[in-house]
Symmetry: C2
Subunit: 363 residues, 2 copies
């Protein structure tokens, strides 16, 4: 690979002048500049970031730690990769900054994180973003204090800057939109109670009912998800939960599921019970995992988990911290997403008076 000295020799100037041409730094005579550019083109010269980094003590690198790419085998078997959209958002936001992204993957083993951080520090990254696969609390090993750290889709208890989804708001908005379509008996078959998201979403569900003057019925709210990735158990639990709410004296007109994958399973289960969607029953998911929501027939209504936005916010935050233009926020930044409407929710006839009263309360 050609060096700046090669270019200098070929164009008959000093390396420093070549450097000036490359960086448009200082005054260079037009003829000199052209000669240098010709030599650069001839030699296919590309400046070495390693040498630059050493001189300037700035690597121009940002590290990203994720499990989204090489997942643990058990997860890869069944799950989608929605958290990958966070990585996508980060890529997009990073692009504009001119920095290069180093992506490292935990391979599902969190104990590899210190090793990855070490590698990043060897490369003198200016900052690190840690992406979690779902909204949760984490605990990371310390990084050198000259390296900025931002958490995406997770938070810790030592006040590391973090960007997380607004689960409360998502479920609140989803249920509010169902109410606006005339639904009153709204069941929620949630994720496992051990998920960080579940408590916030459940509260959003209750508050949305509350605001519309609909009484909360605890028999309609059932966690129907297991933590273990045991596909058989998942189906059984879901089947049973659906059975329970549909057997109620006053069954729901719509069921919200903890995520789109549960809803996808429910499509098969409900149809095998002879229930037609959305005529007999409406269904809503969560995540707006588009492969699912848009490919299912009928398309699935879902609350969008704003993964890309989380990635972008996290990147902007990190870049701001690197530049020194942004201070670390005191509390996690919450990002909310829209409701993605599908054809899985039927509009129910509702007295005009009720509708207008809902509109009023929604304002």
């Amino acid at each position: 690979m050609a060096t700046i000295y090669d270019v200098a020799r070929v164009s008959g100037v000093s390396p420093k002048t070549v450097s000036r041409v490359i960086n448009r730094d200082g005054a260079v005579k037009k003829s000199t500049k052209e000669a240098v550019e010709k030599a650069i083109a001839e030699l296919g010269y590309v400046p070495s970031t390693a040498a630059r980094a050493m001189r300037s003590n700035k690597s121009g690198l940002v590290g990203l730690i994720t499990g989204a790419i090489s997942l643990s085998p058990s997860r890869a078997d069944v799950s989608g990769l929605p958290d990958l959209f966070i990585v996508q958002g980060i890529q997009k936001a990073m692009e504009a900054s001119g920095k290069t992204l180093l992506i490292a993957d935990t391979g599902g083993q969190t104990d590899r994180v210190p090793q990855l951080i070490r590698t990043f520090e060897e490369h003198r990254v200016e900052g690190i973003i840690y992406v979690a696969d779902h909204h949760r609390k984490v605990s990371l090993p310390p990084v050198s204090k000259s390296t900025k750290l931002v958490l995406a889709n997770c938070y810790d208890d030592v006040g590391t800057p973090a960007v997380i989804p607004n689960d409360y708001r998502g479920q609140f908005d989803l249920v509010t939109s169902l109410i606006a379509k005339g639904h009153r008996r709204i069941s929620y078959l949630s994720l496992s109670v051990h998920r960080e998201a579940t408590k916030h979403r459940s509260q959003g569900y209750r508050d949305a009912l509350d605001r519309a003057g609909v009484a909360f019925d605890p028999t309609l709210l059932i966690p129907a998800d297991v933590d273990a990735s045991d596909s058989e158990a998942e189906v059984q639990l879901l089947w049973d939960a659906i059975d329970r709410v549909l057997s109620l004296p006053e069954p729901p007109s719509v069921i919200c599921f903890g995520n789109d994958r549960m809803a996808m399973r429910a499509y098969g289960i409900l149809r095998s019970r002879g229930i037609s969607l959305p005529d007999d029953l409406s269904v809503a998911g969560y995540d707006n995992h588009k492969l699912i929501t848009q490919t299912l027939y009928p398309t699935l209504t879902s609350a969008e988990l704003p993964y890309a936005a989380i990635g972008i916010r996290a990147t902007d935050l990190l870049l701001g911290m690197i530049n020194g233009t942004t201070d670390a926020p005191a509390a996690p930044i919450q990002v909310s997403g829209p409701i993605a409407p599908g054809k899985s929710v039927k509009e129910l006839p509702t007295p005009i008076t009720k509708l207008s009263s809902i509109r009023r309360t929604t304002k």
Copy 2:
């Protein structure tokens, strides 16, 4: 960030001796070694890869170009991310080599590739892997000849080393497995004929029929996929194709689809026509996109596109070329995957004699 000079000063030795301790290079007295290690721990010293790279002229970096992470918006809307598993395979294989992976994303715009290659060359990557989103022919800008290049899931006409899926074999094995289950009327609603995969898979389909002594019926083979990502048109085309084959005087007992997503759509379409899976009709997909095949109810039989294996093979090939231990292969390396059986294919009763004759021909 502390340097090797800081460590040398604190431990009272020369930088070179510190270097020796770090690299276990040459003889160092035990007491000296301990003093140096103590200083390293105290200062939190981490060697700089930039400085190392400059001295050794080896960056330890490998570049990866993909569209799998930040997809073009239109694609992200509807598609899964199966090609991401190639990236996963590459990560896994690269890990063991001690090299660091630089991942760059085209963001769906292939015209950004030269820019990405340029960035990689600035970082003096030792090799580059280019990953395509589906099996196809590509044409990449030239890279400096000291940089090795390997194509994954694609190939070109200038003989760049490439690793591609064996589409012929996949469809052949799938159809053969259907025949073994007693099916004789086998329909194939393929991807668009413009896809590289389609011609190979169609041939595999025909050869498998041929081998089993089943006559090829052109009315059973219909391309049912559009190139544009127009969801509405996709559904219509699929609906119509299904309608055509089911209206035949002698309808198929099983339909193979061009990919799992088409099969997923078909589940909804077939059920809305009152057809029960797999009792009335069997269905098979392609890709073994596990989110689909294992979450659908009933689970979907599919030919596995060996994405992870492609990634691993591509990585091994590249690393071999970097080390100089492997020569560039003359023709693309073809990788095949297994058939992933699901519950969407029903076993049909077949005369013993016929079954045994099939077994004979399959050997």
